[in-house]
Symmetry: C2
Subunit: 211 residues, 2 copies
């Protein structure tokens, strides 16, 4: 039954469609918005419309951005020949916080996951392979250390080996807790994992050649 | 640092201002909105603006409504002389679901809470007292059974006794679990609490006159 009238009910429904927002949370959010100063409610609505309209994918790295190329891809300080492959913009932000990586990114927007029906063609792997050429020094596969992350990294490494044999393909070390989602890992662990990355096509450690 | 660009950052900030939405939830919501079909994002934004613009307080019961008077106050089936006083529109909806009450409501939009600096003049008590006249049969105080709910009920009952001595003022029974928030109580308990309400100014049970 409709106890609140059309507009309140519609607002509750809209909030209820968002991920992680159940019925009671949607009600709480709706009543909070109704008690907000009008300009704050307008600012929230405007930021949704503007972000959805203005934000595009960077034509280089596929990250979400409002300028193309994105600030990282257009920065003169970044090494364009070192590409770190991540699952999502949040993982990119997590690595940026370490201040330890000075190359550029490639955002896949997902991982290969046959159980969920996500194949290699559903994420931005083709765009990555198209970016890689003879001047590329290294591709660092920084997907989560889950089954899906490892599968995706393996798939990409094999395709790079087939197409651009000279390009070094590394994987961040298993310093990242096994089974953990990358975005929740602390910055010191992320930096350590980056330092002890290993070459996926030789099995050798990139820092310690004695192994 | 701004890893996502202006519009995404602003959207994350806006979601982060909502109650119960932390930093990571705000990020998750923002990226969800960015991946929504454009018309869904527009619908969400529009429902926020419309609800904030169109929804007013009912001039009778102070409930949120898009028609004045609200559907309950304008219904011929409701007894206008039996007024149930609740803290919030959500508590009103909780009582409506019992289908056991056929009077009208008065929504206080808060409870007296001196610790938080909320006094009787900060909630809709004056509007309630102005509504009550000689034709009013009963005022049922259905605030939560917390310290604030009991304090508010007591304050209102005393003021009614001072201004309109003939009006019966009842309190929902302590069938509502002590310390519990009214909106989380099951419907059978709410209905039971309504049936065994007692007169606040005589201490007698309204149903069982033998006590």
């Amino acid at each position: 039954m409709n106890y609140y009238g059309e507009y309140v009910t519609r607002l509750i429904e809209q909030f209820g469609k968002l991920p992680g927002i159940g019925g009671r949370s949607a009600q709480r959010l709706a009543f909070y918005v109704l008690n907000m100063p009008k300009e704050n409610a307008d600012a929230l609505a405007r930021s949704i419309v503007e972000a959805r309209e203005r934000v595009k994918y960077c034509s280089h790295c596929c990250n979400l951005t409002d300028t193309d190329p994105c600030p990282i891809c257009s920065s003169a300080k970044r090494n364009k020949n070192q590409i770190m492959v991540v699952e999502s913009p949040r993982d990119m932000a997590a690595y940026e916080k370490t201040n330890d990586f000075h190359g550029v990114y490639h955002v896949l927007h997902g991982l290969i996951n046959p159980m969920e029906g996500v194949g290699p063609e559903d994420i931005r792997i083709r765009e990555l392979l198209d970016r890689i050429n003879d001047s590329t020094e290294e591709v660092i596969l920084a997907t989560s250390s889950t089954v899906e992350g490892d599968t995706t990294a393996m798939y990409i490494a094999r395709n790079i080996a087939l197409r651009n044999d000279g390009v070094k393909t590394s994987r961040i070390a298993k310093g990242v807790p096994v089974g953990g989602e990358l975005e929740y890992v602390d910055q010191v662990t992320l930096a350590q994992a980056f330092k002890s990355r290993f070459d996926m096509n030789s099995g050798k450690d990139s820092e310690d050649e004695d192994n």
